[in-house]
Amino acid sequence: MNRFDYVRAGTVEEAVQAVASGANARFIAGGTNLVDLMKYNVERPGRLVDITRLPLDRIEERDGALRIGALATNAAVAYDERVKDRYPVLSSAILAGATGQLRNAATTGGNLLQRTRCYYFYDEGTPCNKRLPGSGCGAIGGVNRIHAIFGTSDKCIATHPSDMCVALAALEATVRVTGPSGERTIPLAEFHRLPGDEPERDTTLSADEIVLSVDLPAEGFAGHYTYLKLRDRLSYAFALVSVAAVMELDGQTIKAARFALGGVAHKPWRNPEAEGLLLGKPATRETFAAAADRVVSEATPHSENGFKVELARRAIVRALEQAAAGTPQSQTDKRIA
């Protein structure tokens, strides 16, 4: 871990100012990812701006929907009664990730901004374009069992590791941010980016912008939803494939449906065309399979992660079945519904 200046911000303006005026300055809140990466010398900030004392931890009503402050902890969101009642897919996804201890510390804003778990990104002794642009991608042709099958580039095949963001993608949340050029709102789908030629950039956020809140839409799909996560052990592991699915049914006919995948791309992965195949169709396995087939038809697996294509296909089908049946996946009973 390198040496850094420390600034405790008392207001949002002070925080933005402190980041703008420091060399390679970074905001820090929960610290669960940043401190981890600093110990590996992957992140070497010259200044840390402590934003934990900013008044951004509230979860509040706004136009019939919820606004989640950037500093609301993952645990606070997951166990918030309003979230549990109205956006249970979000609660479930958060509880599928990390651990009790980490969720108590990690914040909503930090979760949005968490970085990939790619082995090469984490290991200074290896090439990684995301960590050190131009050094090459170790994962291509290397150990890439956990890597992306969608939206990769020849520079990077890393995945975004968040569970929470997968649910936010399915819910079509928006992210409210502010910076020197003022406040703006970014749809979740546009918040994270694909690696392309600049894998070092995870998001469309500028370095001097700060996340203020995640704004949920009014519709939370509390009746038909699931978060299904498949991983190498039954808890405390990142997703090989995860699916957040939400649905609205009219009898047995699908009136609205969205699903997003985690663990398969540099961002929560959605396929609007595939979702379109569900609309107006009966909520049957055949319908779900057609949508899943459409999604995976665009997969580009690498040397060790070909299994993710079939796993993603099956996981989509099962998740849509769970959502349609109103039998969401439990995050404590590990039997898959």
Binding site: M1, R3, F4, D5, Y6, V7, R8, A9, G10, E14, Q17, A18, G22, I28, G30, G31, T32, V35, D36, K39, Y40, R47, L48, D50, T52, R53, A75, Y79, A98, T99, G100, Q101, L102, N104, A105, L234, S235, Y236, Q331, T332, D333, K334
Partner: protein, 172 residues
């Protein structure tokens, strides 16, 4: 030096923070890069809190910060200025007794550890689980405790111990 909002503190400066550790209010000088875990272990000789991975991947460093369980290895001490910290050394005080916390007693009774290195983290985590109140069944306890790895494999005994305490109604 004291922390003033908005004013940068240079990397090589030690700053004064206040922490209440196991009930005792303390003024401490810390460098910005010192984690809560290293502060406890290296400066305060509170070595009950363990370093197993230093990256939030094992749970051995779990302590209670303002009553909530967190990984102390990922918390910068300077950011916890003003907080109340409970470590395994102070767990018994939480239950108001002079002897052992009910969880500590249950761990001994159920042989819920072998080498003992993950044990302080398991205990603090379990105390956090009791306070959170979301786990009652064995499935729920297992999931809630999954952030605490025990390489000796005492898991079933740990769950037995926690279940025992939950059922007896004792609280942390």
């Amino acid at each position: 030096m004291l922390i003033e909002s908005g004013s940068p503190i240079a990397a090589d400066t030690k700053v004064e923070i206040g922490l209440t550790i196991n009930g005792e209010a303390r003024r401490l000088q810390v460098a910005p890069w010192t984690t809560l875990l290293d502060l406890l272990r290296e400066q305060l000789d509170l070595t009950g809190t363990k370093k197993g991975c230093d990256h939030g991947q094992c749970g051995a460093c779990t302590v209670l910060v303002n009553g909530t369980r967190v990984n102390s290895c990922l918390a910068l001490a300077v950011m916890k200025d003003g907080a109340e910290i409970t470590t395994v050394e102070g767990l018994a005080k939480l239950s108001g007794g002079n002897g052992l916390h009910p969880l500590q007693e249950a761990f001994v009774e159920h042989d819920a550890f072998q080498c003992g290195y993950c044990t302080p983290g398991q205990l603090c985590s379990a105390a956090g689980v009791l306070a959170e109140g979301h786990a009652r069944t064995r499935d729920e306890i297992r999931e809630a405790m999954s952030g605490n790895i025990c390489r000796c494999g005492a898991y079933t005994n740990i769950v037995d111990a926690i279940e025992d305490v939950i059922q007896s109604g004792a609280q942390g």
